[in-house]
């Protein structure tokens, strides 16, 4: 058998350089095939949506779809806001606000809403435990022990600010990035 491997002549720079160039070209082909599975331009373009708030009366809530996920928009009553404000942050299982508009801040009720619009609560309606959609949007729904939302799958209770109070869920309901385009219109995303 030819001892090609032992022959120093064969391992010359030219062969190595040529092989390296060829290999680099082949490797560079990989990225397009990986990236094509990422969200395409159409999906990225639908990244934000605008919602008209006028039809939502006080005490009512609606659910809208955004990036394929349900978003809870609640027009809270003064009482609900009061109740949420009274809770000390230290009592909360999750002390972080989980508000993308105010990242890292503590979970006070102020930090869960936008300044000047504390009656409006906007959250992603997916339980942070294992992904079910909590009950509490419609008037007939059970709202759990803290008057907010209740997840029927494994018994997580959220309060009137959407924060987890009892049950297996580890985090408060996430607040997506959103802003008030006008007093009656928000843009999510």
């Amino acid at each position: 058998m030819t001892a090609d491997v032992e022959d120093p002549e064969r391992r010359d720079v030219l062969v190595i350089a040529a092989s390296a160039f060829a290999a680099v070209g082949a490797a560079s082909l990989i990225w397009p095939f990986v990236d094509q599975m990422n969200p395409d331009a159409g999906a990225l373009a639908l990244a934000s949506t605008e919602i008209d708030l006028t039809p939502i009366n006080e005490g009512q809530a609606i659910t809208v779809m955004w990036r394929g996920k349900p978003v809870f928009i609640r027009h809270r009553t003064a009482a609900e806001v009061e109740e949420a404000k009274k809770v000390p942050v230290d009592d909360l299982p999750d002390p972080v606000a989980r508000n993308e508009n105010n990242p890292g801040s503590p979970a006070t009720d102020e930090n869960r809403t936008l300044a000047g619009h504390e009656k409006w609560l906007v959250m992603i309606g997916i339980c942070t435990h294992l992904g079910c959609i909590p009950k509490g949007q419609s008037l007939s729904d059970t709202k759990g022990e803290y008057g907010g939302w209740f997840c029927p799958c494994h018994g997580s209770h959220y309060d009137t600010s959407g924060r987890i109070r009892k049950g297996p869920a580890p985090r408060n309901l996430d607040v997506p990035p959103y802003s008030f385009v006008s007093d009656s219109m928000i843009r999510i995303g």
Binding site: D7, E9, D35, D40, A41
Partner: protein
């Protein structure tokens, strides 16, 4: 597999462990590293590697496209458009697949013509050759169905025309042709139903091709490659190990091929296709010129050359089927055309006939075009049925060398004469002995 002993020696403990359980490394070593290949192979022998690359490229780009493509009559065209416009790198992957099909056939035809010229179909390589014919057939079926998938005007009408051909069977058994056509269509006309089943089969067939290719390479490795002299390997000096010799040649040739591939894909992605396929399929509007892709043009010319519908269909299928009989049609005592001075002319005439038929396939079936299509169709079949058998037994071949080594080194140089590269001692271990 081949007749020689395996000289693979597992070096590490892990290698030994594998070797005792599933000797894949041994297989790879024996068949693709140490395998003796004739030392005189020219660049026409690089197309096997190139074709493997094409198959893998089509499989990968195809599977990726299938993640975004929607095989329904209503959405197919729009989904392809969306791939080109919105999918990340879709503008690159889609033409890679479309141009890749053309490149696949270019390589396949060159590979086939190489076989015809050098007599690679002759004993003991008959099954190898026939497997190749089946691969070609499977490629054609795959390409035909693949072309329907964008559901443009040309996609739709090509399917209509070609599937309608089967209705000519009604001339043999009344009703048979029509039933077959409706069975293919899944309805009374070509529709989205047809498209969806073509998508399923188009996804399936390349894996069938893959299996056929494995058998093809297996059959090849039983007897080894042919070579330009047509004389089999007799002694060690006739061959070189596949790695690094044949492999380095294959990789270089592959890159030349990729340059052509990239040229079309990036500068001329629409050149090999038809403008009409950028119009959504419309069953009520027939394009003025229905033309298949270039690689089907010779067969299309043969189809239209025969005035009778059934006759045309039979001729078209026969023009592919006849390839399978070539090992028995060629009656020359000599394998390679290199030593057949008269047959050489007929071979090139055959190549010209195929090119001419390709050109004529794109022209309307009128006037002088029909006349020449008939002339070249006649020659196409005459080449196999008349020239191959008769000329083979009549011709006096040129004098042939005794062996591959003799062909390469010349008659008086059977001993180890070789020009040593500067600085290397004679008899350096890397050099094959007696070269």
């Amino acid at each position: 597999m081949s007749s020689h002993e395996s000289s693979y020696e597992p070096k590490s403990a892990t290698a030994k462990w594998w070797d005792e359980r599933l000797p894949l490394p041994r297989l790879m070593y024996d068949q693709f590293i140490e395998f003796p290949t004739p030392r005189n192979l020219n660049y026409m022998w690089t197309f096997g590697g190139i074709l493997t690359f094409c198959l893998v490229a089509q499989l990968i780009t195809g599977i990726v496209l299938a993640m975004h493509y929607i095989p329904s009559g209503g959405e197919a065209f729009d989904s392809v458009d969306r791939i080109r416009r919105d999918v990340n790198y879709g503008w690159l992957i889609q033409p890679m697949h479309a141009v890749g099909a053309s490149m696949f056939f270019l390589a396949a035809y060159l590979h086939t013509f190489r076989g015809l010229y050098y007599g690679s179909y002759r004993a003991p390589r008959e099954i190898l050759w026939i497997l190749g014919v089946f691969i070609l057939l499977a490629m054609m079926a795959t390409a035909f169905m693949g072309y329907s998938l964008p559901w443009g005007q040309m996609s739709f009408w090509a399917v209509t025309v070609i599937t309608n051909l089967f209705s000519s069977l009604d001339q043999i058994i009344p009703g048979l042709g029509t039933s077959i056509v409706q069975w293919l269509w899944g309805g009374y006309s070509v529709s989205g139903v047809t498209l969806t089943r073509f998508f399923s089969l188009h996804y399936l067939l390349p894996f069938v091709i893959f299996g056929l290719v494995i058998l093809h390479v297996w059959a090849l490795h039983v007897c080894g490659q042919n070579n330009p002299t047509g004389i089999e390997i007799k002694t060690k000096s006739d061959s070189v190990p596949m790695y690094p010799y044949a492999i380095s040649k294959d990789v270089f040739a592959l890159f030349i091929f990729v340059i052509i591939f990239a040229w079309f894909m990036l500068f001329l992605p629409d050149y090999l296709g038809h403008a009409d396929n950028f119009v959504k399929a419309d069953p009520l509007v027939t394009p003025p010129h229905i033309v298949p892709e270039w690689y089907f043009l010779p067969f299309y010319a043969i189809l239209r050359a025969i005035p009778d519908k059934l006759g045309g269909v039979i001729a078209m299928f026969a023009s592919i089927a006849i390839l399978a009989f070539v090992p028995w049609l060629d009656r020359s005592p000599v394998r390679s055309t290199k030593y057949r001075p008269i047959y050489k002319w007929f071979f090139w005439l055959f190549v010209f006939a195929c090119l001419a038929l390709g050109y004529l396939g794109a022209k309307p079936a009128e006037g002088t075009y029909v006349f020449w299509a008939r002339v070249f169709t006649f020659y196409y079949f005459a080449h196999f049925l008349i020239v191959m058998p008769i000329l083979g037994s009549m011709e006096t071949p040129k004098s042939m060398p005794g062996s591959i080594t003799e062909a390469v080194l010349g008659k008086g140089d059977k001993s180890a004469t070789r020009s040593a590269p500067a600085g290397a001692p004679l008899g350096a271990p890397a050099a094959p002995e007696d070269r």
